[in-house]
Symmetry: C2
Subunit: 282 residues, 2 copies
């Protein structure tokens, strides 16, 4: 197992951790200055800006780009909506390529408004993911399906289980030595799964990204009350050991949605605590 | 598939639906008067009262008792705590027997305070369930494990998946024609599971209870903002059809925790709407 305390270059900061309060240029410099090895920007920080300039700034700061966050939700009430969602994601994949991202993170979406048909939503996800895999390959960008916690199944991701995401990968891409379709594993979303150990081993080369934060007890808000590593009940070190045993040697990325706490603190403080918690609680 | 519109006697009311605002005697009479076939009382309404008298009142009202709600959480920080939790559940099983309940509902509990070891909590659950199965058999009471939604894994139930609950049943009781250990299936907790169809078929004779309510979008509070059948996104009719195809012919029970809505309404109104939604949305 890698020693994150001795080499912070294995660690990445997802910009969501910092609350989207500063322009991306300021965030890039802060993350680099704090000694991290990579950054994960969000589309809200990139779209409408000069992507090439931002990409150069990230490179010159010495940072890699992990996953580009994130997809437009795929399921729609009609075919025109579906097509528009795919097209939006193709444009985002173009930007991911300019940024040199290691993957494009697919948060697939839940039930279209008015629908109770979860099977139909999942069928749209399979179809859309296949289209985006093809487009991603043409741009040199891997697609990372991120299963979300089942508390989000209705409105954010009808793909909830790691095994479910892996089944989709197998179905679309089949068995392959060098996958272009994989998963982004976020400890917050999967820590509770009784099949986690088995499924992480199964994921193996399909692990394109690894996110950490913590599950607070009690949780005030299931979307925006995620905890700093070490402040909750997830055994992050155990999960990281499983992920690394499965062959993952990419970045360990902090992604902490926290309107109630960390997003209120100065960016430098949040980065300093991340640094310490990567070393001692991840 | 049974026609709930033509026979409300297949339907049950879990007293949690009514917000615990009236004495159990008043609730019993209201549920019976509304035409339902059964009731599920909670320990808070029974313990400290004369259980035999309450049991007689339920019988004389013409109601069956579905599941007696619910267990003391099993996992504890030490062996003395574990033993105390088991003992508390044995006393509740005694009461379930007096009430003539069809099962004792086991909500198993989450991580003991200070622990991050979910495997250890699950091991305590297996051990405790085995003890309670044995005790239940001696009192003629079946034990119904209720897997809860993964949003509660940390603090209410480290058993989240239906498959996980069934694995525990198989492990403890083995294959049997007349199971004493089974599951209570609550649509709210399992609707999102991609393996639901398969796992309900697998559950078969182990389905001891079936709870319904709905998942609201958005959900204001994951504990106490459950929806009336038909007001959310769960395809309840589809799930009921799977449960009945699996052989379940017991009660369909409304259990709606709703501090924000139904618990503020007059009991008679909530019961009338339940009646209509059993018929038209379940």
């Amino acid at each position: 197992m890698r020693d994150l305390a001795s080499d912070l270059r294995h660690c990445a900061i997802n910009t969501a951790t910092l609350g989207f309060r500063e322009p991306i240029e300021v965030v890039i410099d802060a993350v680099a200055r704090a000694g991290f090895g990579a950054i994960a920007p969000w589309r809200r920080e990139i779209e409408g800006h000069d992507v090439k300039t931002i990409a150069r700034r990230i490179r010159e700061a010495g940072l890699a780009v992990t996953g580009y966050c994130r997809s437009t939700y795929i399921p729609a009430t009609d075919r025109a909506g579906f097509a528009a969602n795919i097209e939006s994601n193709r444009r985002a994949i173009d930007d991911a390529a300019v940024l040199g991202a290691r993957s494009f993170v697919l948060v697939v979406g839940g039930l279209p408004t008015g629908s109770k048909d979860i099977s139909a939503a999942r069928a749209q996800v399979v179809e859309g993911t296949a289209l985006l895999l093809e487009y991603g390959q043409s741009r040199g960008i891997r697609i990372a399906l991120e299963p979300l916690h089942p508390v989000y199944t209705a409105d954010r991701s009808c793909v909830s289980l790691l095994s479910e995401a892996l089944d989709i990968c197998d179905r679309i891409e089949g068995c392959t030595e060098v996958p272009w379709l994989g998963i982004c594993l976020d400890a917050y979303h999967v820590w509770w799964d009784p099949n986690l150990k088995h499924d992480i081993a199964r994921a193996s080369k399909r692990i394109f990204g690894f996110h950490v934060c913590d599950w607070l007890v009690p949780t005030q808000d299931v979307l925006n009350d995620r905890g700093m590593m070490g402040d909750g009940i997830i055994d992050l070190r155990e999960i990281r050991s499983l992920v690394e045993e499965a062959g993952y040697d990419g970045f360990v990325e902090a992604e902490i949605f926290s309107t109630l706490d960390w997003w209120k603190r100065p960016m430098g403080e949040t980065l300093a605590v991340c640094r310490e918690r990567f070393a001692n609680a991840t």
